[in-house]
């Protein structure tokens, strides 16, 4: 279980996350959604230790992800853009991660490589691979140790439909094994398929945190995309000057 407590982060005076409190339970897929610049990626990066929070704590099963690098052996992270060193191959990267983590967990990389249709491209340098293929390498790196926490930042961007479906199956499998899965995506139809819970961020503040069903009921919509539009409009009107001053035009 990932627990985020009073998380605040600013970049050059611009606050990206404001006192965020969230709990990502085990065996649950939580989708973090929101408009561009709402703080989704920063939240993910704070959890995995790429970004240092200004305030707050983050723990995985009670262990701080910031203070204890060893806890990252239980976290799988797939970044938005998979740009790796041009002269290394996918095989090199997989072997490197194996070398760094193999003492703690058995890996399922070979199975994933077949699943992601990567075998024929594995020995090629990254410079020779398409964006989608590099994304597949990123997926293998994130999933290969069946992590307790799986953080996926726009995981299906650039993937073909077959591999996208297989990735969704893998996400469902991770959930069934008890992993805490956190996913961001702008493809809300995909989110609706895989997510149990929705966290909606707006300007670094958690605006909605609840189940998908509750969100659909609350907004009286049939689909997640329409429900999100309702949330976005509510936020726009809440932050408009008229609303702030409380007066009518």
């Amino acid at each position: 279980m990932i627990v985020v407590n009073h998380l605040t982060k600013a970049f050059n005076k611009q606050t990206v996350l404001r006192d965020v409190n969230l709990t990502f339970a085990n065996a649950t897929v939580t989708a973090v959604i929101g408009p561009n610049g709402s703080g989704k990626t920063t939240l993910m990066k704070c959890i995995v230790g790429l970004v240092r929070p200004d305030k707050g704590t983050i723990t995985l099963d009670g262990i701080s992800t910031l203070a204890e690098p060893a806890v990252r052996s239980r976290i799988g992270y797939m970044s938005q853009v998979a740009r790796y060193p041009e002269n290394l191959s996918g095989k090199d990267l997989i072997n490197m991660v194996r070398g760094l983590r193999s003492h703690s967990h058995p890996d399922v990389a070979d199975e994933l490589i077949n699943d992601m249709q990567l075998s024929s491209n594995l020995a090629k340098p990254m410079s020779a691979l398409s964006g989608g293929t590099r994304q597949k390498v990123g997926a293998v790196l994130a999933l290969m140790f069946s992590p307790a926490a799986l953080l996926l930042d726009e995981p299906t961007a650039g993937l073909d439909p077959i591999v996208t479906e297989r990735l969704k199956d893998r996400i469902a499998h991770a959930r069934s094994e008890g992993a805490s899965v956190v996913i961001t995506s702008h493809v809300l139809a995909e989110i609706q398929e895989v997510a149990d819970r929705i966290v909606y961020l707006h300007e670094g503040i958690v605006v909605y945190d609840g189940t998908l069903t509750d969100l659909l009921d609350k907004t009286e919509q049939q689909s997640l995309s329409r429900a999100v539009i309702v949330l976005m409009r509510e936020q726009e009107s809440a932050s408009s000057p008229q609303h702030r001053s409380g007066g009518a035009p």
Partner: protein, 258 residues
């Protein structure tokens, strides 16, 4: 952990065409100078000028570029159960060591073929080049980590190189002329210590009689840097020139958001 990461950083750099070009350049330049110039001293002076300009420039530019071009690789490493210290060490050594070996082999192989590899001037040149490689990769890595924008980082790296390679000497010359009526020996020695390129140049120059050509200043340097104390001071200064930017870079890397 560090050795695992180091292996893959080195593997990536070894496959870089820039490293191959760097090695070939030194081998061609050394062999060419040994072939066309009569005498070991002239070859070393010719090589010294190349080493003092090219190594700092190549290290400053390639080191800074390496940080910016490998942001996602660094992110991948940071998401693994490895401390930031191990990652920084692996990155710094993984880039600097292949370039160091390319330099040592590029000069050492032709020198060995000509039977002069163990002569004091060549050994001093190899030592000076080793120090400059480690110093300027350390500075470059610090710049790469601190300056977020790639173009700005490259600009800062170039200005740092220009300052040490050209502007600093101009400043010393101007001060020497302006204060010609005062005894400046001690001040000149101190100023030399604050520029790793000057320090490397003097270490090489003092291994042969060409120091005499530097006139009174050369004699002053000979009196200080030619002694045991001088050698210890110059070696300690070059070690400090490596360690200080490495530690500053590590500090910046530890606090950096990726």
């Amino acid at each position: 952990m560090t050795t695992t990461l180091l292996r893959y950083v080195v593997r990536d750099v070894l496959r870089s065409r820039w490293l191959a070009l760097y090695f070939v350049f030194f081998i061609v330049a050394t062999e060419g100078l040994l072939y066309f110039t009569a005498g070991e001293a002239k070859t070393v002076v010719g090589l010294m000028n190349i080493v003092l300009l090219l190594i700092p420039l190549a290290a400053a530019v390639f080191g800074t570029l390496h940080v910016h071009n490998n942001r996602d690789f660094v992110e991948l490493m940071l998401t693994q159960p490895v401390s930031r210290g191990s990652i920084y060490t692996a990155l710094y050594l993984g880039v600097s060591l292949p370039f160091l070996v390319a330099f040592l082999a590029g000069i050492g192989i032709p020198a060995a073929i000509h039977g002069i590899v163990f002569s004091p001037p060549i050994l001093a040149l190899l030592g000076a080049g080793t120090a400059l490689t480690m110093v300027f990769f350390a500075i470059a890595y610090y710049i790469g980590v601190r300056v977020q924008d790639k173009a700005a980082g490259m600009g800062v790296a170039f200005i740092v190189w220009l300052s040490f390679a050209v502007l600093y000497d101009g400043l010393i010359l101007a001060l020497t002329v302006a204060f010609a009526d005062y005894p400046l020996e001690a001040a000149t020695i101190v100023m030399v210590v604050f520029n790793p390129i000057d320090l490397a140049r003097i270490i090489v120059m003092l291994t042969f009689d060409y120091a005499a050509l530097m006139g009174y200043t050369g004699a002053v340097f000979q009196d200080f840097f030619g002694t045991g104390t001088g050698i210890i001071v110059s070696c300690c200064s070059l070690v400090a020139w490596t360690l200080v930017p490495v530690l500053m870079g590590y500090r910046a890397f530890s606090k950096k958001d990726w």
